[in-house]
Amino acid sequence: MFDTSFFVGLFPIMFRYVDVTLGISLASLVLALAIAFIIAAAYYLEIPVLKSICHGWVSLFRGTPLLAQLFWICYGLPQIIIPMQKLSIMTLIILGVAFNASSYMSETLRGALSSVNKGQMEACLACGMTRWQGFCRIVLPQAMRVAVPGLSNNFVDIIKQSSLAFTLGVTEIMAVAKMEGATNLKFLESFTAVMIVYWLIVTFFNYVQKLLEKVLSRMY
């Protein structure tokens, strides 16, 4: 029934492609965080035009499925935005996953920022600091401690969503599982194996999150 030796043999093959999954995930994380910070700052500091743009951005990427967004970015947009044709499919997927995640991460950050006592910013302003200084040096550092669990959840979502890359022809662990399963007609073994690999990756990052939280709470 269950081909154990085939099952065990899948892991070395999959681990060869873990770097693709992690590559997409980590690159998306960095880009998504950068965008999320801009969005959160635009909201918190109420920067006029930027705030409206960010509102549209978040609404678009939270209001549509990631799969549709990926096809839109990889196949749709390059038809009118010519420079996008030069980008590899991998890069486009990273953009898509990051744009999507940025909308969720910005909401996480926004919640964390609003949990910081308003008096903190007032104290900054009252002693002559600018809103930007107050945001960067006092409010954001305090918000980060609150945001870490939420952002970690967002990151775990990114890891899992990177599996959609296989629908666009990128070979990562999900694609390997599908191919191995199909060529050997052993779907149970293949998809069980891929579930376990994802689960191991996510468990590892949950552990990193715990460490990060501990370090942050030790500070003050």
Binding site: E122, A126, C127, G128, M129, I138, Q142, Y220
Partner: protein, 248 residues
């Protein structure tokens, strides 16, 4: 004739149609300590917050030193410049939670006054000595008592050498046994002729520390004078009733 440090002219402020300040005129001289008393919700805090523009007045002119701004259209740059000339002590302390006692004091020095880090730390330690917290230098606010936090708050406000210090009910959230240590620090500042505006419910303190007392009610200064005039010879009925609550 001493130099005028702070001048308010026709300050008005309302929130959602409710008038809180209804035309405040005030002049404060260098080194003067002015206590503002009055019933709760009468706009004492709003008045202080209109001076450093944490609230933008609906009308009126604020002048601090050479700098004059006219509400309601005040440019961001003018707001920052004006706030740089003042400092505030908050009822809820509002110490920077992610900074140590010393860093709370040096933060405005390095960011606003652009002092070098070492010089800021040297001055910060001097200030901690003044407020009697030298040994708490590395402590975070969450690990200090309310009284200690407020003393750091006063230190932070003092360190930038403001033209005017605004103290918004500095002892109102403190446990009674901690009020004394904070008032002592404020008294020390008063004796050094630091220009201060203090809103307070501590009448004995206002009497002993202030050069002048304002009685604020219904958005206006109803009566003002020396502590003796205000507390011993109140003229208006409003003030007499208000003071009677404190003598029982």
């Amino acid at each position: 004739m001493k130099e005028i440090m702070l001048k308010l002219k026709g300050i008005k402020k309302s929130f959602e149609g409710k008038t809180v300040l209804d035309g405040i005129d005030l002049e404060v001289k260098r080194g003067e300590v002015v206590a503002i008393i009055g019933p709760s919700g009468t706009g004492k805090s709003t008045l202080l917050r209109c001076i450093n523009l944490l609230e933008i007045p609906d009308e009126g002119t604020v002048t601090i030193g050479e700098l004059e701004v006219t509400a309601p259209k005040i440019k961001r740059k003018e707001q920052y410049d004006l706030r740089g000339q003042t400092s505030m002590v908050f009822q809820q302390y509002n110490l920077f939670a992610n900074k140590t006692a010393l860093e709370n004091i040096t933060e405005p020095l390095t960011r606003v006054k652009h002092l070098k880090k070492e010089e800021a730390r040297r001055q910060g330690r001097e200030i901690l000595k003044v407020v009697g917290l030298t040994e708490k230098e590395k402590e975070y606010p969450s690990r200090m008592s309310g009284g200690q936090q407020q003393r750091v708050g006063i230190g932070r406000a003092l360190a930038t050498h403001p033209k005017v210090m605004l103290l918004d009910e500095p002892t109102s959230s403190l446990d009674p046994e901690l009020v004394g240590e904070v008032l002592d620090v404020v008294r020390t500042l008063a004796s050094k002729h630091i220009t201060m505006l203090i809103t307070t419910h501590e009448m004995d303190f206002a009497r002993s520390v202030a050069d002048r007392v304002l009685f604020l009610a219904d958005g206006r200064i109803q009566e003002e004078g020396t502590p003796k005039q205000i507390f011993d010879f109140p003229k208006t009925e409003r003030l007499k009733i208000f003071l009677s609550h404190y003598h029982s």
